[in-house]
């Protein structure tokens, strides 16, 4: 009736994730791959057609009867969403003064921003802060504490270029080349998600999806990262730490987890200060001790416990000051 090879051939196609999304997207997603595939397998067009037909045919009825507006209202009335209400009543006496102020403000704005000449946008995060910035093409940047990104909104369509000082996670929409410039080097991608850590002389890139090209300025070397790979600077050289034997490098800070592998205590304390907006006093001589472990951004006390316990230290919190001491 049908031999085993044909059977497998069709089944393999029908179960292939890229094939499914190609068919379900009306042959737009991954189209280059599958057009090529079809060119190479013209003799098996019948089976390919059957696979396409099957994927398209497996469909289920849309069955929507719920009044989603009403349901949302019910949900909304049962949760307390804090919406700050801003009502300012301005007495008529003050109104003219306000107009004057507005004129002065717009003049000042004009002087500072010079519309038409400068379209540079700067986003700066403070200590303990995390901000999401959506770029003109819909790409997202999750900016970690004490970091800064700069990009040109006017030139965006021509070149997707972001300058970074600090740590950020990028989720890039597919399109033309997307470049992240740092003082240590640059990272180039087409459409993917990855994180860049450039603080002091650190230059660490982890690729989550897609492909990422990392170039180190000082040594002018480039490495290409696949998902789970990481690049770091070791002894002034750009080193690729690839995902091997199922050990992938993960971007944990976007989940609020800060992990350390043989890091100096001073690096760990720096991160703690940055994430919790606290000042930490450390007993002498402990800076160069090595630490392996992690802390969670949710709770300062738990984080302090996670750091001090393995080091045999105790801690005290007074306002936004933390004092570590030997047991």
């Amino acid at each position: 009736m049908e031999n085993k090879d044909t059977h497998n051939f069709i089944n393999n196609l029908v179960e292939d994730e890229s094939f499914i999304s190609w068919v379900k997207s009306d042959f737009t997603e991954d189209d280059d791959i599958w057009s090529q595939y079809i060119d190479k397998h013209m003799d098996q067009m019948d089976q390919i057609n059957e696979a396409i037909g099957l994927v398209r045919a497996i469909d289920f009825k849309d069955d929507n009867t719920i009044d989603t507006k009403k349901l949302w209202q019910r949900i909304e009335s049962n949760i307390q969403i804090e919406t700050p209400i801003k009502t300012t009543i301005v007495s008529s006496l003050h109104r003219w003064r306000l107009v004057g102020l507005a004129v002065a403000a717009s003049v000042a704005l004009f002087l500072v921003f010079r519309p038409g000449f400068d379209a540079e946008k700067i986003v700066n995060t403070g200590i303990g802060q995390e901000i999401t910035e959506t770029l003109p093409d819909g790409s997202d940047i999750l900016i970690n504490a004490d970091s800064k990104i700069t990009y040109d909104t006017k030139k965006w369509d021509a070149e997707r270029n972001v300058t970074l000082e600090g740590v950020a996670f990028f989720k890039v929409q597919k399109g033309s080349k997307f470049t992240v410039q740092t003082s240590q080097g640059r990272v180039e991608v087409l459409g993917t998600s990855f994180s860049v850590n450039q603080r002091d002389d650190i230059f660490e890139v982890i690729c989550k999806t897609g492909k990422v090209a990392v170039t180190h300025s000082a040594s002018s070397t480039t490495v290409v990262l696949n998902p789970g790979d990481m690049s770091v600077i070791e002894n002034g050289k750009l080193v690729l730490k690839s995902a091997e034997n199922g050990v992938t490098h993960k971007i944990t800070w976007i989940e609020g987890v800060y992990t350390f592998q043989n890091a100096s205590v001073s690096d760990v304390i720096d991160e703690l200060e940055r994430q919790f907006a606290v000042e930490v006093e450390v007993p002498q001589g402990i800076d160069s001790t090595m630490y392996t472990g992690f802390f969670n951004k949710g709770d300062l006390n738990k984080a302090l416990y996670a750091i001090t316990w393995p080091l045999g230290l105790t801690y005290k919190v007074i306002d936004n000051k933390v004092i570590l001491s030997a047991e």
Binding site: I10, E15, I20, I58, F60, E82, T83, S193
Partner: protein, 195 residues
């Protein structure tokens, strides 16, 4: 906006993120619920409770880069629990005994368009031979277009089991369709020669 960022906004207490998640997924979630029960009131309650819950527990809920599968896990567990209310021991494995309603509804257009051998009615008939779990896995894969990993999470089974469910399901579907063809052929033969 990507799932991980939308979710982290929700966790930071952004009510707009909750609304966005609601708008994005409510229709697919309703569809999914209807495969388990026809009781609209129950479905509305389950959906309501889940959205209230993720908002109230936003500080402690886990991280996810696939919001839809995260919501499906929670919905599925709650639905099955409430449907099986009378049962003393609740097990997710019980889905096999549930009267699920994952029935296929093939589109008409594709038949002329692709000139393929797939017939809507034959496919719908063949689909009835699949187990509930095979149907659910196929639904999540081809209707919600989830990845195999996401289906693992939603159905709470390992990767190989998901691959097996879908692989055997597709195979069975194709075999049954051929069987229907043969049956029709035999009937025609009977009509022609034995009458």
């Amino acid at each position: 906006m990507s799932d991980e960022i939308l979710w982290s906004k929700l966790k930071q207490g952004d009510a707009k993120a909750l609304r966005e998640i609601y708008d994005l997924h409510i229709c697919d979630l309703e569809n999914y619920c209807k495969k388990f029960t026809k009781d609209i009131e129950l479905i509305e309650d389950v959906l309501h409770d889940m959205f209230v819950n993720i908002w109230q527990k936003r500080d402690t809920i886990g991280h996810t880069d696939s919001i839809m599968s995260y919501l499906c896990v929670s919905i599925r567990r709650d639905l099955i629990k409430r449907i099986n209310k009378s049962a003393l021991i609740i097990s997710l494995e019980n889905t096999e005994k549930l009267d699920t309603n994952f029935s296929i509804s093939a589109e008409d257009i594709l038949i002329q368009e692709e000139n393929s051998k797939i017939d809507k009615i034959k496919l719908e008939k063949a689909f009835e031979h699949l187990s509930h779990r095979q149907r659910e896995a196929i639904y999540l894969k081809y209707y919600n277009e989830m990845s195999y990993e996401e289906i693992c999470t939603v159905m709470d089974i390992n990767y190989q089991s998901v691959r097996n469910l879908i692989s055997k399901g597709i195979l069975l579907l194709r075999e049954k369709m051929i069987m229907v063809n043969v049956l029709v052929f035999i009937q025609i033969l009977q009509l022609m020669y034995f009458k």
